[in-house]
């Protein structure tokens, strides 16, 4: 019955609009990805061999890059907003004498400050906003609407078990919503193939499959929720009202309030903006990094609590486009900076005074640590996304059990 809906021109119209929107976003994200990758390659070429022209150990600056995954064109996340290049000076300032900091990250992404407020949607946010809403519109009258029309009484007068009715509705709606989702993914794959093409590797396909899996879980959770509410109310209007209130809370209010809630957890006097005027000290640098870690983990924990933020978080973790991927990159780069520091200390013991005393002879660069970024493996990404996936599973389970309980005790009489 619900599959017939997919042939309805109104449903097709809504899907076409979503696809159009998604197509536009995907093209835009692909263009931005190419632009950033080009900038990263250029930067990498310029930094290549930089270390071999150093004549004093102060000039040995290592650079490590975090190439973005092609999946960021699907799930943009924070992308390269927090930096994809880390510069390490070990014992010395990267931009000395102007800046004493021995470790710096920088972004190659240009965010036009004048375009704040123009909503840029990626796959996970489209699913979050539209598919959850579509799920609600499909389910709000699934049980109570049938009761209003008298169909439920008729249906239950036959030997159809109640749970079968619930699962029948569920499967029909899930398939109805999965069809446009499949088309979206297919469209994205076509856009990636369009010149300049952006090929995916084997692991990317596995990540994509998991993102699709999380999306199915998320949509399924909303269908269960809709059926539960529909089976707990007597009129379809009440059901729709209740579901829309839940939708607004889960999809809009909670995710947008998160940064404020996290910032509220900061101690009085602590600040989230960089201390531009405070003189940099290694202790202050470490304290700020620890504070950023604390903020990130608080944010992460708050995201696990709710299925909507959990869904976005799990997709971004799989696409390696979340703040967690950035934290991993910075942690690795900071560790390598420590290695470089140790290497410099050793070399300066061997060649005292060569930190700044200029000699036009090449430096001894033996055993110099090689800067590299180890991207997250699929298992590690899954590990990170696990609490969010558990939340999605619990969301489904609660919706399913709640729906079953409600339908078992539902009275079909007018």
């Amino acid at each position: 019955m619900h599959l017939a809906l997919t042939l309805d021109f109104r449903f097709l119209g809504a899907v076409v609009v979503v696809l159009l929107l998604f197509g536009l976003s995907a093209i835009n994200h692909k263009r931005a990805y190419h632009e950033e990758r080009g900038a990263l390659e250029q930067e990498r070429e310029e930094r290549q061999g930089e270390v071999y022209s150093a004549r004093v150990y102060r000039q040995v600056i290592l650079t490590v890059f975090r190439p973005l995954s092609p999946l960021t064109t699907l799930v943009t996340g924070v992308g390269g907003r927090y930096g994809t290049v880390a510069r390490m000076g070990g014992l010395f300032g990267v931009d000395a004498p102007d800046d004493p900091r021995p470790f710096k990250t920088q972004t190659l992404v240009r965010v036009n400050p004048f375009l704040a407020g123009v909503l840029s949607l990626d796959f996970s946010h489209l699913v979050l906003l539209f598919f959850s809403l579509l799920a609600i519109f499909l389910t709000y009258d699934a049980v109570c609407g049938e009761r209003e029309q008298g169909m439920l009484r008729l249906c239950w007068s036959h030997s159809v078990p109640r749970f079968r009715l619930l699962f029948g509705e569920y499967v029909g709606m899930l398939v109805t919503l999965l069809l446009p989702l499949a088309v979206m993914i297919f469209l994205w794959l076509i856009i990636l193939r369009l010149p300049p093409s952006l090929p995916l590797e084997g692991a990317d396909y596995a990540r994509l499959a998991l993102i699709v899996g999380f999306t199915v879980l998320f949509v399924s959770g909303f269908i269960f929720l809709g059926l539960w509410v529909s089976a707990s109310t007597r009129s379809s209007a009440t059901s729709l009202a209740l579901l829309l209130v839940i939708w607004v809370g889960l999809v809009v209010v909670y995710p947008l309030s998160l940064p404020v809630l996290v910032r509220a957890s900061l101690a009085d006097g602590a600040t989230t903006s960089g201390g531009i005027f405070q003189p940099w000290t290694p202790e202050r640098g470490d304290a700020l990094w620890q504070q950023n870690l604390r903020l990130f983990h608080s944010m992460e924990r708050l995201m696990w609590l709710v299925p909507t933020t959990s869904y976005v978080m799990s997709c971004e973790a799989l696409a390696q486009s979340d703040a967690g991927a950035h934290i991993r990159f910075v942690s690795q780069a900071r560790w390598q900076n420590g290695q470089l520091k140790g290497w410099q200390e050793e070399k300066l013991r061997l060649y005292p005074g060569r930190d700044s005393f200029y000699e036009n002879t090449p430096l001894d660069l033996s055993n110099l640590p090689t800067p590299h970024y180890e991207p997250e493996s699929l298992g590690e990404s899954l590990d990170r996304a696990l609490p969010a996936v558990v939340t999605l599973l619990v969301f489904n389970l609660i919706g399913c059990v709640g729906g079953l309980r409600a339908i078992m005790t539902y009275s079909p009489t007018m």
Binding site: R110, N112, A116, L121, A237, G274, H326
Partner: protein, 485 residues
């Protein structure tokens, strides 16, 4: 008759559950958004006070900083979360853009501000469409409309009453939400509101009402055109998605694809080019000194005078190079900023065909907030740069002997005597005490209401035109309605 029909429409809507849904969602979200914005304002105000006091302490004749005060009406429209609040300036150089350095950036930023504009554009307008989509078509389906039209009621009276009734019903939750939010702001007292702010809040409320009227009219239009409620719902939702999301995103995509702005990397390259020119100009050639030292037929004192003249010329040349470098750097940054803002202007120009964005731009112009406010801050910073540069240059000339000069030298020995030519690479006044009262104070004046109205005129006009267009469209569709269909 008109009043009777309006009362009937209002009564019908008031008893509809969707009205309570709209009211509940609007109140919950409005109050949450206001609470979050108040907290955000307190946070930004604290940052502003801290940064301003530090900026004052750090001001020297080499550099100064300007800090953007927070917008007290950010609960209505923010839109400045990606814009820098602190700009560094040196004589002739305004650093428009935040540096690419992200080392200390907290990883919890959100790209979407939770303010009234967001609530009204993305949630309230959606619920407004849901409220009105079955206003006429519901009566068509239930058979009430043909009965009403069979009486002595004129068609235009019926549709006008329907329009007015729906608008009134849509305005009620808006007024209640705004009223409660303002009451909350007054009670908490974190944001101080003067008469000017109250006037602007009033205008923002009118604009919000106008926008809600448009979105309600979208539903009403679909309701009048179609004969099935479900068709009217889907068509109005498609119109909503098109106006609120697809069109502005499409415009952004098109403009960003066709009108490319130089990347941060290109900007860095241009700046590096200017640095290379500077270092080329500051390179010391011993040829002039050599010529002065070996010039034949000069007495010792004449030779010393000639060497001193060569030294003085080198200093003057280098100071000129440094001056020119500052001007070139300033021009590169200004040109980059121009291109970025021109791109944003182009996007805004075409986006305003969507009522959702005309509304946001009109709000930004009238409050002011977002792009408009940041552009005003930059304009004020440019004016301040001019006066700071003038004063700093004058004081630098007066205090030149106290300046710390760094630079290289070239040296050679001739007939057992060592000759040295010094250059200048950097002249620092950072440690030189000076009378700070001579420096101008940075001010960011709020434009008058008439100036703001002129700036937002096109957007307000677009909103009025949309209302008129949809009203006329609805009336025409209703007048052509065939009761037999």
């Amino acid at each position: 008759m008109l009043m009777l029909l309006v009362a009937k429409e209002i009564q019908k809507r008031f008893y509809d559950l969707r009205f309570f849904l709209l009211l509940a969602v609007s109140l919950v979200m409005g109050i949450t958004a206001t609470a979050i914005s108040m907290r955000e304002y307190r946070h930004r105000h604290g940052e502003y006070v801290r940064l301003r006091s530090q900026a004052e302490q750090q001001t020297t004749l080499d550099r100064t900083y300007v800090v953007k005060p927070p917008n007290p009406l950010l609960f209505i429209r923010d839109g400045e979360q990606d814009a820098p609040i602190l700009l560094k300036m040196e004589p002739a150089i305004l650093h428009y853009v935040e540096s690419a350095d992200t080392t200390e950036r907290p990883p919890i930023e959100t790209a979407i501000p939770f303010d009234w504009a967001f609530l009204i554009v993305y949630v309230y307008s959606f619920l407004a469409v849901l409220m009105t989509y079955d206003s006429v078509v519901g009566e068509k389906q239930s058979g009430t409309l043909p009965l009403v039209l069979a009486g002595s009621c004129r068609r235009w009276t019926v549709i006008l009453a329907c329009f007015i009734g729906n608008v009134v019903v849509l305005w009620v939750p808006l007024l209640l939400t705004v009223g409660l939010s303002l009451l909350m702001i007054l009670l908490v007292g974190q944001i101080e509101l003067g008469a000017r702010e109250w006037l602007r809040i009033g205008i923002a409320l009118m604009l919000s009402g106008l926008f809600i009227t448009i979105m309600g009219a979208v539903g009403l239009f679909a309701s009048t055109v179609f004969y099935r409620a479900s068709t009217a719902l889907v068509v109005s939702l498609i119109l909503w998605i098109g106006m609120v999301i697809v069109f502005p995103n499409g415009v952004r995509l098109a403009v960003e694809s066709w009108g490319r702005v130089p990347s941060l990397h290109e900007l860095q390259e241009n700046l590096e080019g200017a640095r290379r020119v500077k270092w080329g100009g500051l390179s010391l050639s011993g040829e002039l000194l050599w010529a002065a030292v070996t010039y034949p037929g000069l007495t010792e004192s004449q030779r010393e005078k000639l060497i001193a003249a060569v030294q003085a010329k080198t200093y003057a040349d280098h100071e000129q190079v440094l001056e020119k470098f500052a001007v070139t750097t300033g021009q590169i940054l200004a040109s980059y900023h121009r291109e970025v803002s021109q791109q944003a202007e182009r996007i805004r120009l075409f986006s305003r065909f969507s009522p959702a964005f005309s509304y946001q731009f009109a709000l930004e112009g009238m409050i002011p907030a977002g792009y408009v406010r940041h552009a005003q801050f930059l304009a004020a910073a440019e004016r301040y740069l001019d006066s700071y540069t003038t004063v700093a240059r004058r004081l630098r000339q007066l205090l030149r002997p106290q300046a710390r000069v760094e630079g290289g030298f070239t040296r050679f020995t001739y007939k057992g005597k060592v000759y040295q030519l010094n250059g200048i690479e950097k002249i620092s006044y950072a440690h030189v005490p000076f009378d700070r009262s001579q420096l101008p104070r940075f001010q960011m004046p709020l434009p008058s209401l008439s100036e703001a109205a002129v700036g937002a005129a096109w957007d307000i006009l677009a909103l009025i035109l949309w209302t008129g267009l949809l009203f006329v469209g609805t009336c025409v569709a209703f007048l052509r309605y065939d009761v037999r269909a």
